[in-house]
Amino acid sequence: MDGHVNASSSSRSGAGADGSGLSGAAERLERPPRRKQPRSSYGSNNQDQTDAAVLAVPNVAVRGGPSGSSRPARLSGGGAGPTPNENEEDQGLKYGAQHVIKLFVPVSLCMLLVVATINSISFYSSTDVYLLYTPFHELSPEPSVKFWNALANSLILMSVVVVMTILLIVLYKKRCYRIIHGWLILSSFMLLFIFTYLYLEELLRAYNIPMDYPTALLFMWNFGVVGMMSIHWQGPLRLQQGYLIFVAALMALVFIKYLPEWTAWAVLAAISIWDLIAVLTPRGPLRILVETAQERNEQIFPALIYSSTVIYTYMGTHYTPQQTEPAVTSSPSSSNSTTTTRATQNSLASPEAAVASSSSRTGNTNRTNPHHNQRDDSNVMAAEGMPLVTFKSNLRGNAEAAGFTQEWSDNLNDRVARRQIEVQSTQSGNAQRSNEYRTVTAPDQAQADAQEERGIKLGLGDFIFYSVLVGKASSYGDWTTTIACFVAILIGLCLTLLLLAVWRKALPALPISITFGLIFCFATSAVVKPFMENLSAKQVFI
């Protein structure tokens, strides 16, 4: 931990590219060399430094991201005062448990919503319509056929995800932010209106409640508009959280509804493996995406990430101040840093072009960055969503496509975000913080004022797949299985958080939880259930 901290502090302190590079190197050897080259190609010292810091950040799992000289200034501008890294760490630990609970509650609520829906609305537990990318419907009674169907389906799904992720990276690096952002809004619009309407319809049908159109439309309009506002713009934190949970639950229900039985399980397994790869391998697309986002000082888009604190408000307010501040304090470097990161990324492909772009932008950055940042975030998410969206729209009707995309994008985003819990430092989007903090508590925020910063983040994708697992388990009608899955997932989440605290490194949140969940789900339904049924039928208590 100390090492990390130091590294972070060093990088922040504005140490040259070398310093940051070293710290990074300590953790991951592979990365630094790659990045160093682009940096060196840049030219200006300032840029280099900033680059180095930025780049180092991802490598370094330091929490104290903002503590750097340039950062603190920004943070303070954002209303948060920088504090020593060490303090942050301690606080991080102390607040760890609290943050865990702050995630437990929404995750449990989301699962509860899904399980309650599955058990009351039969519509969601029967699969009669299928997604386009699950072309094998597992209609054969042969287990072997079902098995390869599920395998093929999940492979198709996963390859779609992989392709989309890569597309997203490309889009993101090309800075097609407007498109990405537009798609993101569109997809959340679909989810909040069309899918919610479907849900309402099925809910009313399940309870046989008649409702007239004016009432339903009035309700839908209010619900959807408030949701759009609170997710994309601003609104009370609780409301935003509630909407995000609902959206995640809705998406999970869609998966449960439309994925064939075995495919759903295969997808769960595949996605957690993919999560592992995408986040942990040095060239994992999600890692690259996240790092890029971090380098660009971007926050994770609120539509894709559940946060226990307010983010979106800052998107508007914070960013501007933050960025402007950097400009003030260490204006060239900070502003450059963001831009440079972009440049570096571009430069990965073609260094010269990157340099050119970076240099050209640096001048503008001070003013324009705020906007860029905001867009970047959204873009990131959207970018991921985008490709999916288009893909789906080809496949199916707009509504579904949008919905799916949204979710997919969510998932992607989550992965991108590494599905971990991210403590958010609202502040500048220090790359470092975001990186680190995905994992554990929010030490960065040592700045007491910004309590919000203390918030913890978890990708909506994690919500979705946790809920898919629990919901699927509950669709078999056995409550012990459901409870076992639930406990296993929570414990997996705990462990992930623990590892984050220990390793200080972005970790995927799906693998442990999903593995535990799958093991307990199958073990319970195959072995424990008969045993418990035998016991409870004879009223034997153990």
Partner: protein, 703 residues
């Protein structure tokens, strides 16, 4: 040795498998016992809903066995622990009793179980006295419900067209009935006054119908714009008419030929009804009400196919016989209305059949085979005594009374508006001058459109002769069937009809001695009344095609995507019997219609030139935009969708017991909250050994 090891391994595997299958019994398996039966469901027309539906969660009622009418009084006079579920035998399932149950309201009567104990049953028909009254000719003479003498179903109660506030569940299996009765005897049938205080054996029936009010409403709700998830509330009743001609028609090559053929082809339309109706899902064979007519039509087709000379040697080479079996006729003549609608629009046959359209001008006359309950009383009905009708009547009677054949039947005639409820009504409604002749017997079916119109109602016994049923037999060869057997009756009537048509077509009297084959009737009824896994269906199928189910085909018109079993089998049988064998064409070339490869009687396989086809039997009301649902022009029947039919019995706890449990629970909850709060708030007092800083909870607030 190896084999032994293998065997051992297999045994081990099986053991493991068995182990894996071993599942604990859940509590609910001990609480509930499911009951197999058939449910009554909801149908809707343009203005009303009919049939029944349970409540959304399932209707629960305490079982009460009705043995005599007096037992009902107990339920109707403020019973002690409502709601109840009377188990009613068919002879008490009368209109009067059911109306009283409806009147008692869902608070008292929540479920009605109809148990299959037909011992005292005299009649059981829940169709209207005037079936399809509102789609028939609008003439008081056609049918008078108040006058049994002129009504077409004097035993009808009309319950099929009532809307019940409770589900009705029909339990056919005696074992299930025994289960119910045992449960009733064990838990309910004593000390009625303490019913409210103890657990009672109750039944829960789930048959919630998602459609309501009328077809108009539910079609509107089903439309996409109102219904994003695409779930259906109701489907129009929809089936397929089956038609076939004696002589193959020319394949239309281009449009120029059309007019030519339209003006010159002349058809004798022979029709009957394909479907039947009953109150309960999947039960009801319609043996007497429509299957006899279908059997006769099939026999006539077979006879004509074999008796008639080639078309080119007829006096009029453009004459042909068109056999049509109309589907959905029980529900306001869906099939024939659609047929008329299509013919008016030159849309019959449909374009994909590549045959020239048939117009009303092409139809020489129509001979409609109605319900022939009692063949001694067959009448030829027509609106007016046209020469055509007189001539046909004379021909029919000449064969019916001919001593050479010894049929000894007398076909009377009735030329008036007193027209039976058959397909011809749709034609006459369009044009009263349409030359429609109807063969119909005086109504004698006490089980019209009911679950009891079955094998017993027509007194059918399967002879299982295993003989060739396609050949015509000499009139003296009865194959051992008694003269009053169903097979012989059908043989006689169909022979008469076929001979008369033969004479009409050829202009010559039929002088041969070959008549219809009773074995064909035997096989036909066996297929349709007992088991679709039968020789006739096998012969009429592609060799090696999957066998029919060992149960009779469903003859309810059903909806799109429904089983459509009876039209499918009829299609094959008509196709087989009305086709010409093509011995020269090998099997491999016999793939494109009209050539079709049949298994044949002996299963050897034969290539035949067929003429049969389907036409849609969906009411035109669902085709016309902005159709006025209340206009009564076309059938508007739809069937509600439902998710499941299920019934189970269990013990219903008394309310005393429930309330006791609940109050104990609430008391425990409140007590524990108070106790835990007090203890936790003063824990440092209680656990005094610990240092103050160890107190688990905030310091005490008060005491």
């Amino acid at each position: 040795m190896e084999k032994r090891v293998q065997a051992a391994a297999i045994w081990l595997l099986m053991l493991l498998h068995g182990a894996a299958v071993a599942q604990g019994e859940r509590t609910r398996d001990k609480m509930y016992q499911s009951i197999v039966g058939a449910g009554c469901f909801r149908r809707l027309n343009g203005t009303h809903q009919t049939g029944c539906s349970s409540t959304h969660a399932g209707s629960v009622g305490v079982l009460h066995l009705i043995k005599v009418e007096a037992d009902l009084e107990f339920l109707l006079a403020s019973p002690p622990s409502p709601p109840y579920a009377p188990m009613i035998p068919p002879h008490l399932f009368t209109r009067q009793n059911l109306l009283r149950l409806i009147e008692a309201g869902p608070k008292n009567i929540s479920v009605v179980l109809l148990i299959n104990k037909p011992d005292s049953m005299k009649q059981f028909s829940h169709e209207l006295n005037c079936p399809n009254q509102y789609s028939s000719l609008n003439n008081s003479e056609t049918c008078d419900a108040s006058n049994p003498a002129t009504s077409w179903n004097p035993w009808g109660t009309g319950l099929l067209h009532e809307d019940f506030p409770f589900p009705i569940y029909y339990i056919a299996d005696t074992e299930e009935i025994t289960k119910l009765e045992k449960c009733f005897e064990k838990f309910n049938n004593f000390e009625y006054e303490t019913h409210a205080l103890r657990s009672l054996c109750a039944v829960e029936v789930k048959s919630f119908m998602s459609a309501a009010v009328s077809s108009e409403v539910c079609i509107r709700r089903t439309r996409f714009i109102n219904n994003l998830s695409g779930s259906k509330y109701c489907d129009p009743l929809e089936g397929r008419n089956v038609y076939a001609t004696v002589y193959p028609r020319n394949i239309k090559t281009d449009d120029s030929e059309v007019n030519d053929i339209i003006t010159r082809e002349r058809f004798i339309l022979v029709s009957c009804r394909l479907d039947t109706a009953s109150m309960f899902d999947g039960v009801g064979l319609g043996a007497m009400d429509s299957l006899v007519g279908l059997a006769i039509l099939t026999q006539v087709a077979n006879l004509l196919r074999q008796l008639l000379p080639p078309q080119s040697s007829l006096p009029d080479t453009k004459r042909n016989v068109l056999f049509v079996t109309f589907n959905g006729e029980s529900y306001d003549y869906i099939g024939s209305q659609r047929f008329v609608y299509d013919v008016e629009r030159f849309a019959f046959p449909k374009a994909s059949a590549r045959r020239a359209p048939i117009t009303f001008d092409n139809i020489e006359f129509m001979l409609d085979i109605g319900t022939l309950d009692d063949i001694a009383n067959i009448k030829l009905h027509a609106l007016s005594g046209t020469p055509l009708a007189q001539k046909l009547l004379q021909q029919l009677n000449s064969y019916a009374q001919s001593p050479r054949y010894g049929f000894n039947l007398n076909i009377q005639s009735e030329m008036s508006y007193h027209i039976p409820p058959t397909s011809a009504q749709s034609f006459l409604r369009r044009d009263p001058r349409f030359p429609a002749l109807i063969l119909n017997a005086k109504p004698a079916n006490k089980y019209y459109h009911s679950i009891y119109d079955d094998v017993e109602n027509v007194a059918f016994t399967y002879a299982n002769t295993s003989q060739d049923f396609t050949m015509l037999l000499d009139v003296s060869n009865t194959k051992g069937f008694r003269a009053d057997s169903l097979q012989m009756k059908v043989r006689n009537v169909s022979s008469i009809v076929a001979m008369a048509l033969f004479e009409t077509l050829t202009g010559k009297e039929y002088t041969g001695s070959k008549v219809a084959n009773p074995v064909l009737s035997d096989e036909f009824f066996y297929c349709f009344l007992l088991s679709a896994d039968c020789p006739l269906f096998k012969a009429a199928s592609y060799p090696g095609s999957p066998k029919g189910l060992p149960m009779p085909p469903m003859r309810y018109v059903s909806v799109l995507g429904g089983p459509q079993e009876s039209s499918g089998w009829t299609y094959r049988v008509l196709g087989y019997l009305l086709s010409q064998q093509q011995p020269k064409i090998p099997k491999d070339n016999c793939t494109v219609l009209p050539l079709h490869y049949f298994a044949g009687f002996n299963g050897a396989g034969e290539c035949r030139l067929t003429t049969q086809n389907y036409s849609s039997a969906l009411s035109p009301a669902f085709l016309i935009d902005d159709y006025d649902w209340r206009s009564g022009n076309y059938s508007t029947w739809t069937e509600s969708t439902w998710s499941l039919f299920s019934a189970r019995i269990f013990l219903r706890p008394s309310s005393v017991h429930q309330i006791t449990t609940l109050s104990v629970g609430i008391v425990v909850l409140i007590l524990s909250f108070c106790l835990v709060y007090i203890i936790s708030s003063r824990s440092e007092v209680l656990f005094e050994d610990l240092p103050a800083s160890n107190a688990a909870l905030p310091p005490p607030t008060a005491c």
